[in-house]
């Protein structure tokens, strides 16, 4: 990408010239200089803390004093892999995260399609603002509102009973968590899907119609593949945010609703067993690493 035209008149000014010459002579200097501050932050703060956490996972604590014993061992990982409880908890967490992601895709796609392709410009703006607005209402307040809706004498049961249906006692169950998670992360799925759909040129759709494709065919063969990166980008958020959450299971979950995050949190808080918490924390990291690699293949990073 050579951008300097030959024979360009030399600019005025003294000291600035050698620097620009440097940038021209070594074009890779520009991205490196730009990248240094953020990379420094990332490596020295973020990565260093993650590495520290990983190292801690191989340590253990002294049961008397709860101080960390810096003796290398893989006991923590062995416990996680052998005890069936942790497998159940990990399975529940990942499973619900996947279910929430699918639910949000189903809920958001028609809305995003409507916003991107059917609505007028003004309605488009209004709807976009309407989708963004719930993000400004505190996450905690919104989850708490759902407790009000789902509990034994809440809005849901009251509505069902007033039209003669039996009460659906889904308060403090995994079903309740599924509902609440799908609700909370919905804007995170709608926005990238909408952005991706908006980028699909109308001319492509018209061309498909000209070639004889019916509406469903067009949607399946043209729109969906082009919207896929956006959908996958949104799924990164819904999946990872559900995978790591511990607050919603505490507020809305019941018995048998523990998530990976809850066990990590209780090990950090109660037992001060940071090594075990760190070991367990590597599980969602590994899951997300796999997910992100797959997402990158599907082009999601271009659509974030």
């Amino acid at each position: 990408m050579s951008t300097e035209a030959v024979g360009r008149p030399r600019p005025k000014g003294g000291g600035a010239v050698p620097f620009r010459a440097l940038l021209w002579r070594f074009p890779w200097l520009r991205p490196v200089l730009l990248l240094t501050p953020p990379m420094a932050w990332f490596v020295l703060v973020y990565l260093a803390s993650l590495v520290l956490l990983l190292i801690t996972a191989f340590w253990s604590i002294d049961p008397f004093t709860t101080q960390i014993v810096q003796v290398w061992s893989t006991n923590n990982f062995h416990t996680i892999l052998s005890d069936p409880t942790y497998r159940i908890i990990i399975g529940r967490t990942a499973g619900l995260a996947a279910l929430v992601t699918i639910t949000d895709i189903v809920l958001s796609f028609p809305l995003a399609y409507y916003m991107a392709k059917v609505a007028s410009r003004r309605v488009q703006n209004l709807l976009f603002a309407a989708v963004l607005l719930p993000l400004w209402a505190s996450y905690l307040a919104r989850v708490y509102a759902w407790i009000l809706i789902l509990n034994h004498t809440g809005v849901l049961n009251w509505s069902l009973q007033s039209i003669g249906l039996p009460a659906a006692n889904i308060g403090y169950t995994n079903t309740a968590m599924w509902l609440v998670f799908s609700y909370i992360w919905l804007p995170f799925m709608i926005i990238p899907t909408y952005a991706a759909l908006e980028r699909v040129p109308d001319s492509l759709l018209e061309a498909a119609a000209d070639l004889g494709a019916r509406r469903w065919r067009t949607t399946l063969d043209v729109v969906l593949p082009l919207a896929l990166p956006g959908v996958v980008a949104g799924s990164i958020f819904t999946f990872s945010l559900t995978l790591g959450d511990y607050i919603t299971p505490i507020l809305v979950g019941g018995a048998g609703s523990q998530f990976i995050g809850n066990v990590v949190y209780s090990n950090v808080g109660i037992a001060n067993n940071i090594p075990f918490a760190a070991a367990l924390a590597t599980v969602p990291v590994v899951i997300m690493a796999v997910y992100l690699l797959a997402a990158q293949r599907l082009g999601a990073f271009e659509a974030l």
């Binding site: 991205p31 953020p38 990379m39 801690t56 059917v118 509102a145 492509l204 940071i274």
Partner: protein, 269 residues
């Protein structure tokens, strides 16, 4: 694009239902700001405006709100500078390991908050750093940076490189190109990124729990109130206030960016 009558109707109905789904809990939050009882139960026992007065006079609310705004602004400022730098560097350059770097930049948002939280907490305590407003800002800036980076990068990808080259052909030096051509092109993406970053920081509770000392940001205050249970309607008042205050900026941001910052893309490139 033409769409059949029934399909259009179905789409509209679906959109309405999803929007109802999104907003009914928020309407409940508004409604319960007027609750006479401090216990949330359905149906609502009675209505009163006394909580508005008590929230206005509550010093803890003011402190928490102020702290959240301060942390948000500082984190967003840092994120703007560092995130944009990174986006410029990644865009249109290719070096071996670029994919690894872009993967790295997604981590703070992709990894669960509790991991970032306990990692930073352990890091600070090993480094002997006392938890304070600054540690909160460090935690927030890390994921805010990613949000700004994503937005700016997405917009840079959509800008035509030929515009930059044309400007240079016309004699502009690097700085002038940046100021007069690039910046206006990405300005709306920067604003959108900043707004989203501020929103994330403002509502963040998990990482903040682990990086705050004696300080209470607004979400931490809300969490405390949910446990206390005595001043629950004050939470509803504060949240309603925040929603109302942010309606205007959000509408403006929507108009500037995704709502149609660029017209529907004409022909595919």
């Amino acid at each position: 694009m033409s769409i059949g009558f029934w399909s259009g109707l179905a789409l509209r109905a679906w959109a309405v239902l999803v929007l109802l789904f999104l907003f009914i809990p928020i309407l409940l939050i508004f409604f319960y700001a007027f609750n006479t009882s401090n216990i949330e139960s359905w149906p609502i026992p009675g209505l009163t405006t006394k909580w508005f007065v008590s929230t206005w006079n509550d010093p803890d609310v003011r402190t928490a709100l102020l702290l959240s705004v301060q942390a948000g602004l500082a984190a967003t400022a840092i994120a703007l500078v560092l995130g944009s730098c990174a986006a410029f560097a990644i865009n249109r350059t290719s070096f071996f390991g670029r994919d690894a770097v872009s993967l790295l930049f997604v981590l703070p948002l992709a990894l669960p908050g509790i991991i970032t939280g306990i990692a930073l907490n352990a890091f600070f305590s090993f480094g002997g750093v006392t938890l304070s407003l600054w540690t909160i800002i460090v935690g927030h800036a890390t994921f805010c940076m990613v949000v700004v980076y994503n937005n700016v990068l997405a917009r840079l990808r959509r800008t035509q490189g030929s515009l930059i080259e044309a400007a240079m052909d016309l004699g502009a030096n690097g700085f002038q190109v940046f100021r007069d051509v690039t910046l206006p092109l990405i300005s709306t993406a920067v604003v959108a990124g900043a707004m989203l970053a501020f929103a994330l920081s403002f509502d963040e509770v998990i990482v903040t729990t682990f990086t705050a000392g004696a300080q209470s940001t607004l979400p931490i205050w809300i969490f405390g109130q949910i446990r206390h249970g005595i001043l629950l309607p004050e939470v509803n008042v504060v949240v309603s206030f925040v929603i109302l205050v942010t309606i205007i900026p959000v509408v403006i941001a929507a108009r500037l960016t995704g709502g149609g910052g660029t017209a529907r893309v004409p022909a595919a490139r």
